[in-house]
Amino acid sequence: MQAIRKCGPAAVALVLALGMAAPAAGQTYAIQGGTVHTLAGRAFVGTVVISEGRIVAVGENVEPPAGAEVVDATGKHVYPGMFDAVSGLGLTEIGAVDVTNDSREQGNFNPHLQAATAIHPASEHIPVARANGITLTMAAPQGGDGSIAGQASLVGLDGWTVEEMWVEPGAAMVIRYPSLGGGGGFRGRRFGPPRSWRQQQERYEEAVERLDEWMDAGRRYDQAAKAGVDMPRDLKNEAMAKVVGGEMPVLLGADGERNIRNAVEWAERQEIRFVITGGREAWKIAEWLAEHDVQIILSPTQTMPSGLDEAYDEAYANPGKLHAAGVKIAFATFNSSASRTLPYEAAQAVPYGLPHEAALEAVTKNAAEMLGLGDRIGTIEEGKLANIMITDGDPLEIQTQVTDLFILGRGVSLDNKHKSLYEKYRGRPGRRIVS
């Protein structure tokens, strides 16, 4: 236990070894001496006790239970682990190599498919994300405009198998709301046959009708099932039944101002639980979104303005404007290899108007609350799953290092492919050529 108290890299390795060797759920840790940012109240210097995968005690004067492994966090900061609200972690390995991609199935109606089925627990991307404090993600399937792509799975970023990783395999349904407009023109240049406004509208209406039909079918199936009608099992309708019944929230993709407005109105008509994903132009209707109590998982802040004549900092200022209007936001990378940059997507919004505290909440607890998982993850509170990071500074800052990480109660390694390559080649001796 002496090694753990020192808490250097070697200690982390040991934690890993212990975590992996012993049944994970049995481990008990006491994180001591750090400034604890619970995100459920004020910060304090104190102790967090983890046991059986959960946070069992938090406070200034908590005594470590007997047998707990003590992690010395003196001079450091203890935060809830970060939650990349939507990512492709585990579903893709090498972007350009099709056979390594499992995020996009054929067809546009796959509500019964579940990301967890294809998450590759040994993906090199997972430990890379982890090393920067990402502890949780919703790995999400992808689909085209107007599609129902499948179910996103909430997973912790540690586990020998996906079963050890997952928290909620059917956490949310991924729907890309159809966009109105576009087609046949791009920034004033034509690349396809131009569509008239009327044709654009027709295409849009058809896509919405298709969505409505899928929803209605789910509703009918649900009613029939509840009425005990004997019928063949339909996996798609079964999945849709959870959506129409409000059991499963929807990640409703929409970026443009009109697109978001239409999506929200549609979702309200359908009376479903939903979160908008994307939201690039959401600032334009921030008040309206607040009135409608809409919550948004924002796509990366570090992106170009939505239009040629938009302000250079449109995307940087978007989160701050939404927050100021009272819209609840969370950040996500919607990516796999870039998942580790999640804190920077939040931080980028800070000098452009988003309060620092709000930025932090938007990479930890907000998404959890949006998905109805706020009672299980997102903050450092007793009873919650133990996803905790220990840092040497502000986790939103680039130069901050994550020194220790706990996922689902397990102390995990911060080693990864990058670090090992770094160490290997840093240790490369001078050139040796035999002549």
């Binding site: 390995e93 090498i94 972007g95 350009a96 190599v97 090199e124 991307h125 890379v128 407009g181 576009g182 023109g185 920034r187 004033g188 240049r189 131009p194 008239s196 406004w197 009327r198 654009q200 509208q201 009109r258 570090q302 992106t303 170009m304 303005p305 239009g307 040629l308 004549d309 302000a311 250079y312 900092d313 796999s336 290899s337 870039a338 580790r340 940059t341 804190p343 920077y344 931080a347 980028q348 800070v350 000098p351 452009y352 939103l396 800052e397 680039i398 130069q399 901050t400 290092q401 492919k417 990058h418 390559l421 770094y422 080649y425 840093r426 490369r428 001078g430 050139r431």
Partner: protein, 935 residues
């Protein structure tokens, strides 16, 4: 059908009605004539006079009451006191005006095809899918892609082209006809629209110009050149070839005896003639930057340009005037699409073109630019005068308008000695108009071509109008979407005056009142301030060269960093900026960018060293301003990575609003190379190489060829440069420059093995690779890179997007730095460039660089890599005043640029940006109201 009566003004007919109003009489004739055989030529009206007519001579003053005597197809006399010669037939011109016949200065009449309506640089060269036969695939300039220089519009005229008659009815006696297909499309000719049954007789002059296109819209070839920079390189190479050809033949012909006869070349022969006779090229240019490219390119081609398109030339009148370049203005004024998305907002640039294109003629006239008009994309010649009237409503004088339609066009094409004005001795190309040509509804009643009279049938012409209107006017199908759109956007019905719903010529709903002055342009470009001196006071200065200086002042004067120190006195003329609590760094330098260019890849061939980004800089790219807002002052625009040997780069400063030429800063010449996946992936048709072995081979072969080329030139120069110089080859010239050290190689690379192989290949040929770009596995061979002396320019933390990026690590920059490599971090992206300071900071997190080492990754180091460190890259006295002020530490996530200076001029200011944004929004709102909501 069209509405002309050819009137055989025979003696018998007119003789009986001498001194009567000839036209009044003739007007009743068509019904009679239509039953008669189509006359092949008016029979013998050799001598006649138009009396009592107002004469707009164009070349001289207007004669209010005079006569024009036409004899044998020429103007014999014209003026106030002209006597009708005995025996002449007389036409009564009372109440009418005679003008020189109109000239449509750029058409394809007689040859089919569309004249390029929207001339300018779009991007690609050969467009569209590769649907051509293999034989039309071009693998380089030697394949003469899109070239038909030997074809002339004077040959093979299609006498059955309906447009001849249509144009003549609208008052055009003359057109410049061109062939439209390809890049070097062929020779233009001036045609008179008289007896087109015998096309040879139509030709007034040929050749008058060579038509050049920068996009092959007819897809006459696939392959090279496949980009705008490829097209420009090809045009230059082709004309260099022609110069060489000319010289070779001149030498031979001077004394053929004992010499081997040079090979005759059908494509170069006409250019030899062009050089000898001095006729110009017709070169497309829509915008100011297009005009700049036209000037630069034709200068190298050794020919004078006439630019066509020119709708955005309102912003380039000074350039055209200074260079004495004439312009042909397309009268198809751009308008918003009528049935588009009602919420779609055209970009400011586009809206301004809608608003200002019709001001171009007035601006050109005011600047003294010679210009003419062409019907371009208009639906027909009947739309020409209404379009000209819009230009008149926007500041062009009627006199200038008429001149542009007549004499100016003749002058531009060198036929003003024979037509274009009403002067004795000129061809009797005349039109007779009731009232004035530019009156609303005015149109010619009679058209004389080569003295031959064609009368325009008023009644049929009217019918034609109505038909068009019914066909294209607002039927229910067209109106409904508009109405829905209104409901959605809440536009007031009242704001749409009823009469405007009726289309001009039934084609589109009318735009705004043509006389409405243009919406004032906001100052969206250029520096916010340009002060003789600026004192930045009391900042934390990260010099990038000698550490961080607390509480330090920086004085910028005359574009340079004049002083750096504590407690500097503010010069009397200095603007003082209080930077207490703020940070100052050198302006950020991006070592790898692809913005601000009309094309990036010439990937059609595996060696494209003949192309260069410098040819296609696009100074309108808003990305430049956005980068300034991220503290960036200098960027290196690189060719893409589609081929092992790419093209030349362009190192520019972000002088937002300046012309392309003024952005270049004279960095050491460079060229992009590329290795690995991008160069070898599958292409259609197959392109060598497909392996890393082949990539290496392509580069080695290219250098072997370049060596031979150098030897050829060396031999020539050693022999005292006597005789004809060897052929200039732009591709090999650039490669030779690498071998002599004049041009540095910046090579895209990923894997350690390919990096090593390129270094060894360079060593084999005796040069050093200047930078390895991306170089994601550079950390694996850092010692080798350092020993070779190459720099490295990498990403901060991108990885896994392809196989060769799977071993990328974010420690790369730090590890290479540790091993002695000169490292920079680049963006390769329009977004990443906006926070390169953060990307640099990642090398502190991953690998532990210190603050100055990290900052150098995006300042001093890239400056060294491009040979501009004597001018920029650090805060040192004497360097260019390229300086960024930050609120918050620049190596923190929370630092943001608040001011960016380039050459001491303030190009970004976070507060003034707000004002500019507001001004742009105001302008845009006014433009949208004017140009879209009225529709």
């Amino acid at each position: 059908m069209q509405a002309v009566s050819r009137l055989p003004l025979g003696r018998g007919l007119l003789g009986r009605h001498a001194r009567l109003g000839a036209l009044a009489v003739l007007a009743v004739l068509p019904a009679v004539l239509s039953a008669q055989p189509r006359p092949t030529r008016p029979a013998g009206l050799r001598l006649y006079a138009i009396e009592g007519v107002r004469i707009v001579t164009v070349s001289g003053s207007v004669v209010e009451d005079g006569a024009v005597v036409v004899e044998d197809g020429l103007i014999a006399r014209a003026g106030a006191n002209v006597e009708t010669p005995p025996g002449a037939w007389v036409l009564d011109g009372a109440g009418k005006t005679v003008y020189p016949g109109l000239v449509d200065a750029f058409t394809t009449l007689g040859h089919g095809g569309e004249p390029s309506a929207r001339a300018g640089f779009g991007g690609g060269g050969a467009g569209g899918p590769p649907n051509q036969e293999e034989r039309n695939h071009s693998w380089g300039p030697d394949d003469r892609p899109g070239t038909s220089s030997w074809l002339t519009a004077a040959d093979d005229i299609d006498g059955g082209d309906d447009r001849f008659e249509q144009w003549r009815n609208a008052g055009f006696t003359t057109v410049v006809s061109t062939l439209h297909a390809g890049l070097i499309a062929g020779q233009a000719a001036v045609l008179n629209l008289g007896s087109f049954d015998r096309p040879r007789e139509m030709v007034v002059a040929t050749p008058v110009a060579m038509r050049i296109n920068v996009q092959d819209r007819s897809r006459t070839y696939t392959g090279y050149p496949g980009s705008s920079m490829g097209v420009l390189a090809y045009l230059k190479q082709f004309y260099y070839d022609a110069m060489h050809y000319r010289d070779v033949w001149a030498e031979y012909e001077a004394d053929p005896s004992g010499k081997r006869r040079p090979e005759w070349d059908i494509s170069l022969e006409p250019v030899r003639m062009q050089f000898a006779e001095g006729w110009p090229v017709l070169f497309p240019a829509g915008s100011r930057s297009d005009v700049g490219r036209a000037i630069r390119t034709t200068r190298e081609m050794g020919v004078a340009p006439i630019v066509y398109g020119a709708q955005g030339a309102y912003a380039a009148a000074d350039l055209l005037a200074a260079n004495g370049i004439p312009a042909l203005v397309d009268l198809d004024w751009p308008e918003p699409p009528r049935d588009g998305d009602p919420d779609a907002e055209p970009a400011l640039e586009q809206l301004r073109l809608y608003d200002r294109a019709p001001t171009t003629p007035g601006a050109l006239a005011a600047a003294g630019v010679k210009f003419a008009f062409y019907s371009g994309g208009l639906d027909g010649p009947g739309e020409v005068l209404p379009a000209v009237r819009r230009a008149v409503a926007q500041g062009l004088s009627e006199e200038e308008a008429v001149r542009a339609l007549t004499l100016s066009a003749a002058e531009i094409f060198g036929v003003d000695d024979r037509l274009g004005s009403i002067e004795e001795g000129k061809i009797a190309n005349l039109i007779l108009v009731r009232g004035s040509l530019l009156d609303e509804g005015a149109r010619p009643e009679a058209v004389f071509v080569d003295g031959e009279l064609f009368e325009v049938d008023a009644a049929e012409e009217e019918d034609g109008d109505d038909e068009t209107e019914e066909a294209a006017g607002g039927g229910p199908e067209d109106e409904e979407p508009g109405a829905e759109a209104e409901a959605e956007t809440g536009t007031e019905e009242d704001s749409r005056p009823g009469p405007r719903r009726r289309g001009r010529m039934g084609r589109r709903p009318a735009g705004p009142d043509p006389a409405t002055p243009p919406v004032p342009m906001s100052a969206d470009k250029g520096p916010y301030r340009d002060d003789p001196a600026t004192l930045i006071r009391n900042a934390t200065v990260l010099t990038a060269s000698r550490g961080t200086l607390a509480n330090t002042d920086v004085l910028l004067r005359d574009g340079k960093i004049a002083r750096v120190g504590a407690g500097l006195d503010a010069p009397r003329d200095a603007v003082v900026v209080d930077a207490t609590g703020k940070y100052v760094t050198p302006g950020i330098i991006d070592a790898h960018s692809h913005m601000a260019a009309t094309s990036i890849n010439e990937g059609s061939v595996n060696v494209s060293s003949m192309v260069t980004i410098e040819d296609v800089i696009r100074p309108e790219d808003l990305g430049m301003y956005r980068a300034l807002a991220g503290g960036v002052t200098t960027i290196n625009i690189l060719h893409g990575s589609a081929n092992p040997v790419g093209g030349g780069n362009a190192v520019i400063k972000l002088r937002w609003g300046a012309d392309a030429d003024d952005l270049l800063i004279g960095a050491h010449k460079g060229i992009k190379f590329a290795l690995g996946e991008n160069t070898k992936r599958d292409r259609n048709p197959d392109r060598y190489p497909a392996t890393r072995m082949g990539v290496q081979d392509v580069i080695r072969q290219a250098f072997l060829e370049a060596r031979e080329y150098m030897e050829e030139w060396d031999a020539y120069e050693e022999s005292g440069s006597r005789g004809v110089a060897p052929r200039r080859d732009l591709k090999l010239e650039a490669l030779a420059e690498i071998l002599t050290g004049e041009r540095w190689v910046h090579s895209h690379s990923y894997r350690a093995d390919e990096i090593l192989q390129l270094l060894r290949l360079a060593e084999e040929f005796g040069f050093r690779v200047r930078t390895l770009q991306h170089v994601l596995e550079g950390y694996k061979v850092a010692d080798e890179i350092a020993a070779h002396g190459a720099g490295a320019s990498t990403f901060s933390d991108w990885w896994a997007y392809k196989v060769e990026a799977y071993d990328a690590i974010p420690h790369n920059a730090a590890l290479m730095t540790e091993r002695g490599v000169l490292v920079s971090i680049n963006s390769d992206s329009g977004e990443e460039i906006r926070h390169l300071n953060q990307e640099a900071a990642k090398a502190m997190k991953w690998g532990g660089l210190d603050e100055e080492q990290a900052l150098r990754l995006v300042t001093l180091n890239p400056a060294i890599q491009f040979g501009i460190d004597d001018r920029t890259g650090s805060i040192d006295e004497g360097k260019d005043a390229d300086v960024t002020i930050w609120e918050g530490h620049p190596l923190s996530m929370f630092g943001k640029a608040v001011q960016t200076y380039v050459d001491g001029k303030l190009y970004f200011d976070i507060d003034m940006d707000r004002e500019r944004q507001a001004a742009v929004r105001t302008e845009k709102k006014a433009l949208l109201e004017k140009h879209t909501e009225a529709n």
